[in-house]
């Protein structure tokens, strides 16, 4: 829809093709086109009237003056167009939703905003998207280009800009560009138009807040991240009292949850006291906890706790720069509450050993991320040994969470480090997230950020090894080619080493892919278990299924499918036969069926 002088002729030819295009779509998979239909219909409506008001809003105003010249210009004859037939391998783009926030009532004093389904609206939208696509890496240029859009006096340009930016930011499954770009672009626009844009942005924020009850969870996540980062650039100034309605609602419902998550993110970009200062006293219940460490062996009342004396011993040892071996020997004497007698080696799963070691070490390293990372690195050997079994891994995560439950950011970075240093694996993290210890925090944003980050690390790991394998294979192919060119027999031996490497890499790839599949299966299985539990309980109690918790959980499941759809597509048969079978509760099965429909 990006119209320039030379393309007007092409455009009118295209419009004449459209009825044929529409007919063929109707025959095939109609639902795929549902979202694009408004655009097509708008174009067709005007094309049939043989007028193109859209070109008046094109980037070059010369259109109108040069109309007579255009009619005599080179005419293009487009060949007939037949859409290719559908095949099993056909890949379709994801359906696109037309995003509309504003209409002409939102700016009653300014120029009239073109209607939501008018072709002018689509043209402006398309042009603004183009500007962002061309200039997003240079935000000053991008902002300047956006605010100098031609014909800006005839349209409420700031509203269009804000709508287009949010349309991209909230696009599912992912925005066209990195999320943070939209935040800094909006900041730049506020600097360029300080007298007008911030007000429109405030209005947009208010509107989005009002619609939180029905907003998709992934979009809410992005809204939280955008708003908190935006506020941090403007001294956290906001009229929080306007949102006092959230204070009387169920704390698990979308609005109070949103405010709580925003304040938590704001704190991460500043500090705890700042947050207490920026909100009215009535909002204190929604303020985040002070991110301090909780050490269970710290005060006098902990004398009676099992392992207390060992904890004190460890603390002394850590402070005197003990080695891994010295720590092992201290831990050797810790009794195992799970067994009557220890193994000879004393290193089977012993939750108490893990408890005293992890609590004490993390407490001593609590000062900063760097201190904690150094601690993990220095005592890596002890961690690996204690967390050798699956239960060990789970318990390390549990204890770490107990120590740092007030500091979700620290939890996230520690989980990341533990995965990267192979103290725990991805499946352990997934199981830990669905464990009963985390049930109270299950709907909090940090939990899902950890899970998605874990999945991404797994995916990156598989890609990396696949790439290494490809490179090794290419190297071998090049070697063969050179040999056949040179007729050199001596390189047979060189081949052998490379072939061995390829075989090892092949095994590595298969192992990684298997771990990746297992991770997704664990996640889906745990979702099914936790949702089924809720559905059964509601049926027994006779209460409504649709609690805020349920809505959140179902949308988190949808989010997994959507965010990682390319990988999950490989497992469709397994998922259908093993997990999402016909016996499953229809509420849960529906999510899987919707996902299948998207891929259809």
């Amino acid at each position: 829809m990006y119209l320039r002088c030379g393309e007007i002729g092409m455009f009118t030819r295209f419009c004449r093709l459209c009825p044929g295009l529409e007919r063929s779509c109707t025959k095939r998979k109609m639902q795929r086109w549902t979202a694009s239909l408004p655009t097509l219909k708008a174009i067709l409506k005007d094309a049939r009237r043989h007028t193109c008001p859209c070109y008046k809003y094109g980037l070059l105003r010369n259109h109108i003056r040069k109309k007579s010249i255009l009619c005599e210009a080179l005419q293009h004859n487009l060949p007939p167009f037949t859409p290719p037939p559908h095949t099993e391998d056909s890949v379709y783009p994801m359906p696109r939703v037309i995003f509309r926030m504003f209409d002409y009532t939102d700016d009653p004093e300014g120029p009239v905003m073109p209607g939501s389904h008018s072709v002018e609206r689509f043209v402006i939208e398309e042009n603004l998207h183009c500007i962002i696509k061309s200039h997003w890496k240079e935000r000053k240029t991008c902002a300047a280009q956006l605010v100098s859009y031609p014909g800006k006096n005839k349209i409420p340009l700031n509203y269009h800009i804000v709508e287009v930016i949010f349309a991209e930011l909230f696009q599912l499954p992912a925005p066209p560009h990195i999320d943070v770009m939209y935040t800094t672009l909006l900041i730049e626009l506020c600097k360029l138009q300080p007298g007008s844009l911030p007000q429109v942005l405030a209005q947009a924020t208010e509107m989005l807040y009002m619609r939180l009850d029905t907003m998709n969870t992934t979009c809410v996540d992005r809204f939280i991240n955008w708003f908190s980062h935006h506020l941090s650039n403007f001294q956290f100034r906001w009229s929080w009292e306007d949102w006092s309605d959230c204070l009387t609602q169920d704390p698990e419902s979308p609005k109070p949850k949103f405010v709580r998550e925003v304040l938590e993110k704001c704190m991460r970009l500043s500090y705890h006291q700042r947050i207490l200062d920026i909100v009215p006293p009535t909002f204190s219940a929604l303020c985040p906890a002070n991110p301090t460490c909780i050490y269970k062996y710290g005060d006098e009342s902990s004398n009676s706790l099992p392992g207390h004396s060992v904890a004190l011993c460890l603390a002394v040892a850590f402070k005197s720069k003990a080695t891994n071996d010295e720590i092992f020997s201290i831990l050797k004497d810790v009794p195992n509450p799970n067994q009557d007698d220890d193994d000879d080696e004393g290193f089977s799963f012993n939750p108490l050993k893990i408890e005293v070691f992890v609590q004490t070490l993390l407490h001593l390293a609590a000062k900063s991320f760097s201190h904690s990372f150094s601690a993990l690195a220095k005592f890596h050997e002890v961690f690996k040994t204690l967390a050798e079994s699956d239960e060990g891994k789970l318990h390390v995560l549990r204890v770490m969470f107990e120590v740092w439950r007030n500091h979700p950011q620290m939890i996230a970075v520690l989980v990341d480090k533990m995965i990267r240093t192979q103290i725990v694996d991805c499946a352990a993290v997934a199981n830990w997230i669905f464990s009963s210890e985390l049930s109270r925090d299950f709907t909090r944003l940090f939990v899902w950020e950890i899970l998605h980050s874990t999945i991404r690390k797994m995916n990156k790991h598989v890609l990396k090894i696949q790439k290494e394998l490809e490179e090794a294979k290419e190297k071998l192919a090049r070697q063969h080619k050179r040999r056949s060119d040179d007729d050199d027999r001596s390189s047979d031996r060189k081949d052998g080493a490379l072939e061995e490497q390829i075989e090892r890499l092949q095994e590595k790839v298969e192992s990684a892919q298997s771990e990746q599949k297992n991770l997704f299966l664990v996640i889906f299985q745990r979702f099914i278990m936790i949702l089924t539990e809720h559905l059964v309980r509601c049926e027994t109690d006779g209460t409504s299924v649709l609690t805020p918790w349920y809505k959140n959980c179902i949308e988190r499941l949808q989010q997994i499918f959507l965010q990682h759809h390319q990988i999950i597509q490989q497992y469709m048969v397994t998922l259908e036969n093993l997990l999402f079978t016909a016996e499953l509760d229809p509420h849960i099965l529906a999510v899987f069926q919707q996902f299948c429909a998207l891929q259809a």
Binding site: K137, V180, M181, T184, N225, L269, S370
Partner: protein
Amino acid sequence: MDRKQQPSRYPLGTVSNDLRILRGDSSLELSQYRDQHFDVDDDEQEKSLEESSTLYVGNLSFHTTEEQIHELFSRCGDIKHVFMGVDKIKKKACSFCFVEYYDRLDAENAMWCLNGTSLDDHIIHTDWDLGFREGRQYGRCRPGGQASNVFREDSDVGRGGSGKQAQAHDKRGVQ
């Protein structure tokens, strides 16, 4: 993204230089800064900088923590390490740091999106860096901090008030 030509090869004003400017991505261009403490020539430095995934971040408040930096820069990708700048003598925070990403692309996102935005009420400045080596975390000015802080004219409470030079001047003025 096109690989940029070495700036030293084409003198300013020639056609090749003008074309380079048109093709280049100015947000990612190397600044004039070259590390004088490293025994590596300019061309080598530029090559390393064009492959680096470490950023120098300047004009931080003295109070800005590793956690705040981690939160902000995580929005561009997974961070490998944050090295906080330190006053060589006082061993305290020194208003700069290094952020190392696992992937170069994430560092590029940070250059595109975060350079010139605010952290802790300070407009931060990001630049490509050769990569952290022991010793680079120390400010290199004689008082122990950063030259940019000593010669600062404005008053910045978050960076200790007036620049040291300005403070010295004031004292002389009072006397």
